[in-house]
């Protein structure tokens, strides 16, 4: 017990978790926007848009996140000179958000597509038959129902995103949990079990409510037919 208190007093564990939460919230926002654009491309009547979105999803779904994160630093930043800020930490934070967002958008797109599959084809036919164009049918009828039908997979994607945010260490975000954990293990190998438990419990505490909330919303928002 003493070990726990010492660790929590010496190291800013809460601050580290806040960095991961921040990474997650920004990435959730951007990946949702990108994921919605991608899924609209995937169901659009224009075949070239469908192909581009399909290729994007296949690429980012199948790339390991670590490779994307390392590329963000060594490729996008060091070689392609993509920079968000002159401040070292801010810059790598946003590079990590970019990498996480690009990666997660593929999964958001797939989750929404599974939601779109729950919308009967007749809904789109009725929209078209009334003279609504593709954008109107998508934004008014298909996507609202698809969102409500894909709460559960979207929740799982959010949980995966929160856990994946620890890979931001690979993008040189040195204040987040997995970086802090390595640091703590390096300096306090005597309390390694406590260190491990702190982070394990921290994530469990964060993630269980997300799961409960998605289950609740999934039932609450389900489209009655």
């Amino acid at each position: 017990m003493n070990g726990f208190m010492q660790l929590l007093q010496t190291y800013d564990v809460l601050g580290a978790f806040l960095v991961n939460i921040e990474l997650t919230l920004w990435s959730a926002l951007f990946s949702t926007v990108l994921g919605v654009i991608l899924v609209m491309m995937r169901i659009s009547p224009i075949s070239s848009l469908r192909a581009v979105a399909g290729a994007y999803v296949e690429l980012f779904k199948n790339l390991p996140l670590t490779i994307i994160m390392v590329f963000m630093v060594l490729g996008a930043y060091a070689q392609l000179k993509l920079s968000f800020s002159d401040t070292f930490a801010t810059n790598f934070f946003w590079l990590a958000v970019t990498g996480l967002s690009l990666y997660t958008a593929a999964f958001v797109c797939e989750s929404l597509r599974s939601g779109i599959n729950t919308v009967p084809i007749g809904q789109a036919e009725a929209a078209r038959a009334l003279g609504l164009n593709f954008m109107q049918a998508a934004t008014q009828i298909i996507l609202p129902q698809a969102f409500r039908g894909s709460v559960a997979p979207l929740g799982n994607t959010l949980i995966a995103l929160l856990k994946n945010s620890t890979v931001a260490a690979a993008a040189s975000v040195s204040t987040e949990t997995s970086s802090l954990m390595s640091e703590m293990i390096e300096f306090r190998p005597d309390v390694i079990v406590q260190i491990f438990l702190i982070f394990a419990l921290g994530y469990v505490i964060l993630i269980i409510p997300i799961g409960m909330l998605t289950t609740y919303l999934s039932n609450k928002l389900a489209v009655r037919r």
């Binding site: 007749g122 009334l130 109107q136």
Partner: protein
């Protein structure tokens, strides 16, 4: 307020010429030629799989065709894009499975297209919608969701939704086939009333009573072909082809 603009009845409104369609190896529409005049009520009957629904769906291009020509009010059916959307706005459609928008209230179901497609003022659209819902007898349900209504009520809303666009022609694709028997008549009553008001209608249906009562002309289809076209009296009393005689004997024996 008349539902149907009352100019020059008798002008050809829907024209299908040499329409052909395949689903893979299956030849579902074989040289379909059909003209529907303004104000005419056409009822399409025939055995299952005869291509009735497919033909109905080609008229607003929910199904594409392989060859031939379809014209609405003299204009050829556009391939895609804005022109197709604006043509569809003029062709009302009622589906077998109602297809009311599950995420919108009854009122919003009816006002959506007038507001989004016709850019009608929201208040005006709601007045129009309430008027139409009142006509089909479901005005009291306006703020409910579709899943809270019975099948018959949903289908009457679907008719009101199509009428809100002031269509030139209404397509009915087996509108009563998914209904419980006691709800069939409430939908047919609305259709009969619409027919009497002079709406141009193309109805695919198995309701022979409706066909006799409301149709100006019966079209009999089998195996993707139009085999007979006649007035209801002639068709039911003196069918010409063996297929039609066989079909009628099977459905009219009870």
């Amino acid at each position: 307020m008349p539902l149907v603009p009352g100019d020059e009845p008798g002008r050809p409104l829907v024209e299908l010429t040499h329409v052909e369609k395949h689903f893979g190896d299956l030849h579902v529409l074989k040289d379909i030629n059909l003209t529907v005049n303004k104000g005419e009520v056409l009822v399409v009957v025939g055995p299952s799989g005869s291509g009735k629904s497919t033909m109905c769906r080609t008229i607003n291009r929910l199904e594409t065709i392989d060859s031939g020509d379809i014209r609405i009010d003299g204009k050829p059916l556009p391939q895609e894009g804005k022109e197709l959307a604006s043509l569809r706005a003029e062709v009302g459609m009622v589906f077998q499975s109602f297809n009311l928008f599950a995420n919108k209230t009854i009122l919003d179901n009816v006002t959506l297209a007038p507001v989004k497609v016709r850019h009608m003022d929201k208040k005006e659209a709601e007045r129009l919608a309430m008027d139409l819902l009142d006509r089909v007898g479901v005005a009291t349900q306006a703020n409910k969701m579709p899943s809270q209504l019975s099948g018959g009520q949903q289908q009457r809303v679907a008719i009101a939704r199509a009428l809100a666009m002031k269509p030139k022609v209404m397509l009915f694709d087996e509108p009563t086939s998914a209904l419980d028997p006691e709800m069939v008549n409430e939908v047919l009553d609305v259709m009969v009333e619409l027919a009497h008001e002079g709406m141009t209608m193309i109805c695919v249906t198995h309701e022979m009573g409706f066909a006799r009562k409301a149709a100006d002309r019966i079209v009999f289809m089998a195996d993707g072909q139009i085999l007979e076209q006649n007035t209801p009296d002639e068709f039911f009393e003196h069918p010409q082809t063996d297929r039609a005689k066989d079909f009628l004997s099977k459905i009219l024996t009870h």
